[in-house]
């Protein structure tokens, strides 16, 4: 059982029926595969799976029945062949029109689109994500709750150790490229539905997150 060679030597001569069944499977799978071609029309997922499994079974038996030296060579060469087939499918080099079994995805409806769907709407890429986050938050009234906490934590994480109240007119003095948290009280006390507003400071090209008793400023080094 542990040695494939033994298993093959025992099983192959056991019955010609196995080979007969293999040939039958080959014929059936060929028919199903032909049916699956988009010219003929789409087939069900079960048909395709059956065809795939049958093709694998037949391939294994055909290869196993080869003489040993050819068998090793054929199996070894199947590696680049299978890799190439995988590349063809992955890159959609051939349109298999696989509607039921979505092996491949096209640019717009695939991962990147899905990533944006699944991820929180506040999250994306940009040169400086604080800046980006600012553009998304601008003008919104958000409520600081346990549910939204983690998104605010992104902004507030650096602020929790700085609890000095600061007047809004001190903002222009802040260096660009820094995220400065200036809160009047610890974040933990803000689960009471504190309203949060995001506004832009056009002169400094910064976004200001106005909290209940303090402000949080975030600005990119290169807003452009």
């Amino acid at each position: 059982v542990h040695e494939p060679e033994v298993w093959l030597r025992v099983s192959l001569p056991v019955s010609r029926a196995i080979k007969a069944v293999s040939v039958l499977l080959l014929i059936v799978s060929a028919i199903v595969m032909i049916r699956a071609w988009p010219v003929i029309g789409p087939t069900t997922m079960q048909q395709r799976l059956f065809a795939g499994v049958a093709a694998v079974v037949v391939a294994v038996f055909v290869v196993a029945s080869l003489r040993r030296q050819y068998r090793l060579r054929v199996i070894a060469w199947s590696f680049p062949v299978i890799c190439a087939a995988s590349v063809v499918i992955n890159l959609n080099l051939v349109d298999f029109n696989w509607k039921v079994l979505p092996l491949t995805r096209r640019a717009d409806d695939t991962l990147y689109g899905a990533a944006k769907e699944n991820a929180h709407p506040l999250i994306s890429k940009d040169l400086a994500f604080y800046y980006w986050l600012g553009t998304k938050l601008e003008g919104r009234e958000l409520v600081y709750t346990p549910e939204t906490r983690k998104y605010f934590d992104l902004l507030l994480i650096r602020s929790v150790t700085r609890l000095t109240p600061v007047a809004v007119d001190a903002l222009p003095a802040l260096p660009p490229g820094r995220v400065e948290g200036l809160l009047a009280r610890p974040v933990e006390t803000m689960y009471d539905g504190t309203p949060v507003r995001v506004v832009q400071d056009p002169s400094a090209k910064r976004y200001v997150l106005i909290l209940h008793e303090g402000v949080l400023v975030f600005a990119p080094q290169d807003p452009g």
Partner: protein, 501 residues
């Protein structure tokens, strides 16, 4: 520019530190291993700095890293291990590396999820504070140390974040896959056919949507895949050639893997144990490296215990103690395998690991059938109907066909390790909410750790009958032939054509 300069600095650091052993593996090895080893060195210095309370600053880190690199180069020169010609060749690769990275940093295609932001913000927080201050300590419980320390350099050196880091890591996954395949098949004199075979596997890997996405996605999974590939691939090289030069990258890769995520110490220990199980003997040198591996992890776990406090979401103090026990347990097993009178224990490690994980999977499934079924189904659906394209169908087909190939004498630890890691991923689902059908699902992303190593395994498995055996039969001395030859000779009857012997 900052990114390119920093990454090149790590490359130079890696070249300096790895030269002692990588030179014995070939020039290509030096170039391919330099960046991952340099990155690990940076992280290790950062961990020590933060752990013992030295201010974590740009100047402090730059000076320390510079001194370490200079010390390493000085040692190589003193030992006369760095001939001028080789030094010039390696030096010439530095501007080439810089130029390549500089080009990559011209575009920012970084992909973010919430996790990405969180990693970067905690990383920036560490650099900004210069210490583990405030709630940062608590947040360390949610991430491995590696990415936090790596990305903290962005804040230290005044750039918003390292958007090109993932692409660089991905490029190294591809390069490592090609080099390891070629090296394992061709030995020290690897040729273009071996490289082409490795390139085939790399192209198959690089064509997968989910892999392409990770070239731009800032997270822990692609780095984990890189270091698992480095660690297990070099372990395989060690088994084949039994040259100690393979061991440092094994343990560096294992430690780097363990520091990637909160749970990755477990697969790192499992693979190390399985590697020992397949060795003829465990040397004193390997035991010392095992001590080093354990020391790094235990040190970081002590740092976590000091700082994370209560109310954490992923790693609690009790889980940290558990991880520490696993690492120390590994050290005990390594000691037993090294000690001559208990060395026979090795033969039980492989079946015991598989049995333990299988039984644990069975018990957890029986105890929470609905929960585990949902997890299994989600994993299956994500792998076969998700964003992996044909990748896991390819793996399935290769796995079936490989049953018809003669077994290799060495490399069982890779296949057992891959199965064990798969079981471990399923088991981890027991301790949390069930895995879900979505691309960002934890298990789905963790399977990325396995794919490059799986492709390496099959590339070598299928390549040996065509490339490995033929080459080794061409009159090479037995010492260079490696242990594949034994396995292939056992399988081949004398009547076969010479090309297959």
């Amino acid at each position: 520019m900052t990114q390119a300069a920093f990454f090149t600095g790590l490359y130079v650091l890696g070249l300096a530190l790895s030269h002692g052993f990588a030179a014995r593996l070939g020039k290509l090895a030096q170039v391919v291993l330099a960046f991952p080893i340099g990155a690990f060195a940076w992280v290790l210095i950062g961990i020590i700095t933060l752990g013992i309370g030295i201010p974590f600053t740009a100047v402090g880190m730059a000076v320390t890293v510079g001194l370490v690199a200079l010390l390493a180069v000085g040692l190589h020169i003193r030992r006369k291990a760095l001939p001028l010609r080789l030094a010039l060749v390696l030096a010439a690769t530095i501007p080439a590396f810089f130029a390549a990275v500089f080009l990559v940093t011209r575009v920012n295609w970084a992909e973010f999820s919430f996790d990405s932001h969180y990693i970067l913000v905690v990383a920036k927080g560490l650099a900004f504070e210069g210490a583990i201050a405030g709630r940062l300590g608590n947040q360390l419980s949610e991430w491995g140390a590696f990415q936090l320390l790596f990305h903290s350099a962005a804040e230290l050196y005044g750039t918003p974040y390292f958007y090109a880091a993932s692409a660089l890591i991905g490029a190294h996954v591809i390069a490592l896959l090609v080099w390891l395949t070629a090296r394992l098949l061709g030995g020290p004199d690897l040729g273009w056919r071996h490289l082409a075979w490795g390139l085939t596997a790399a192209v198959a890997l690089g064509s997968v949507h989910f892999v392409v996405f990770h070239f731009f996605y800032i997270h822990t999974n692609f780095p984990a895949a890189l270091f698992l590939l480095l660690f297990a691939g070099c372990g395989w090289g060690y088994l084949r050639e039994e040259d100690d030069a393979w061991l440092p990258p094994v343990f560096i890769g294992a430690a780097a893997l363990a520091l990637q995520r909160t749970e990755t110490p477990l697969p790192a220990v499992i693979f190390l144990v399985l590697l020992m199980a397949e060795q003829r003997r465990v040397s004193g040198y390997q035991l010392r490296l095992s001590f080093g591996f354990a020391a790094v992890l235990v040190f970081w776990e002590v740092v976590l215990l000091r700082h994370i406090g209560e109310g954490t979401t992923i790693l609690s103090p009790s889980k940290v103690y558990l991880l520490m026990a696993v690492v120390l347990g590994f050290l005990a097993v390594a000691g037993l395998c090294w000690y001559p009178k208990t060395g026979k224990l090795k033969r039980w490690l492989n079946p015991a690991t598989l049995l333990a994980l299988s039984v644990a999977t069975l018990i957890t499934t029986l105890s929470k059938p609905a929960h585990m079924s949902e997890s299994f189904f989600s994993v299956f659906a994500n792998l076969y109907l998700g964003y992996w394209g044909a990748a896991w169908f390819m793996v399935l087909a290769l796995a079936i066909l490989s049953l018809l190939l003669p077994r290799l004498e060495v490399g069982k630890f890779v296949s057992t390790g891959l199965i064990s890691y798969t079981l471990l991923i399923l088991l981890l689902g027991f301790m949390r909410e069930p895995y879900a059908i979505r691309w960002a699902d934890s298990a789905n992303r963790m399977f990325l750790h396995l794919l490059p190593l799986t492709l390496l395994f099959f590339a070598v498995r299928f390549g040996v009958p065509l490339l490995g055996a033929a080459r080794w039969s061409a009159g090479q001395p037995a010492a260079d032939a490696g242990r594949w030859k034994i396995a292939v000779e056992k399988e081949q009857p004398a009547s076969l054509p010479a090309s297959l012997n």
